[in-house]
């Protein structure tokens, strides 16, 4: 969860995310529009990729960046939320057992 939050807490990354909805742009095409190096943009894409917000899809010789479909992202979030809920439950169970 913290990683997802971190990934979204950067304006360039949020911009990359928006521009990758159609999945038509490669990292170099994305990079052309930012006042930073290709490597820096590549790093931003990697951060988004790590948390599952974008995937890279090969088309011919190009590697295109595509943001994950909203539905899938929300399903992933739902699982994260359930995990969080269960971690809390197990902690409370453990405390209750210790008390007994």
């Amino acid at each position: 969860m913290d990683r997802l939050f971190h990934a979204l807490a950067d304006a360039t990354r949020r911009d990359i995310l928006r521009r990758s909805v159609d999945g038509e742009l490669s990292v170099s095409r994305l990079a052309a529009d930012y006042p930073m190096s290709f490597a820096a943009v590549q790093k931003h894409v990697a951060v988004l990729e790590q948390v599952g917000l974008v995937t890279k899809v090969r088309r011919g010789r190009e590697l295109l960046v595509r943001s994950e479909p909203e539905a899938l992202r929300r399903a992933r979030e739902a699982l994260d939320q359930l995990e969080e809920a269960w971690r809390g439950r197990i902690q409370r169970m453990s405390a209750l057992l210790d008390e007994d």
């Binding site: 969860m1 913290d2 997802l4 939050f5 979204l8 807490a9 949020r14 539905a71 899938l72 929300r74 399903a75 992933r76 979030e77 739902a78 699982l79 994260d80 939320q81 359930l82 995990e83 969080e84 809920a85 269960w86 971690r87 809390g88 439950r89 197990i90 409370r92 169970m93 453990s94 209750l96 057992l97 210790d98 007994d100």
Partner: protein, 161 residues
């Protein structure tokens, strides 16, 4: 206490495995005793109250969680199978105050297993949804029921653009 959580997006399934340094009977009681169950089921901000508790095949467990504003969120388990100290299966539904399942809301298929280990007990809780769409719907409900901590924050960040 040891805890592992496995998230399977494709199969819309969450598997929680916890090992406690306590006897199997005590771990089973966390579910079998409604007074104990209400002390862990809901988050501290939304404590659970168990109003009906039939942990028997065909039985119903009806609970509600209360928000800080006093709003109640009801849920029921339809218990499918029970083998004391071994496991149980149940379907968990969002319900109204009478304990009637609300149409169109996601169902959680729960399969809980218990076993003794050296010096304690292991519990494996599998929560499964029929589809990833069903799974997604739990997101909104979770927000209301205080299950989500940082999720609201993330939505705020996205909204800022």
């Amino acid at each position: 206490m040891e805890l592992t959580v496995d998230k399977d997006l494709e199969n819309a399934t969450l598997t929680v495995t916890a090992t406690f340094a306590h006897p199997l009977e005590k771990v089973w009681e966390l579910y079998a005793d409604p007074r104990k169950m209400e002390r862990w089921w809901g988050p501290p901000t939304h404590p659970a109250t168990v109003v009906r508790h039939e942990l028997t095949p065909g039985g119903t467990v009806h609970y509600f969680m209360t928000s800080p504003e006093g709003e109640q969120f009801h849920g029921i388990w339809r218990v499918l199978s029970v083998e004391p100290h071994v496991g149980f299966t149940a379907d968990d539904f969002f319900a109204d105050a009478e304990g009637t399942p609300v149409e169109g809301m996601p169902t959680t298929h729960m399969d809980y297993r218990f076993e003794a280990t050296d010096g304690g007990a292991r519990m494996v809780c599998v929560s499964r949804y029929d589809t990833t769409e069903e799974l997604q719907k739990t997101l909104e409900m979770g927000m209301e029921e205080g299950l989500a901590g940082a999720m609201g924050q993330m939505e705020a960040v996205l909204a800022e653009g």
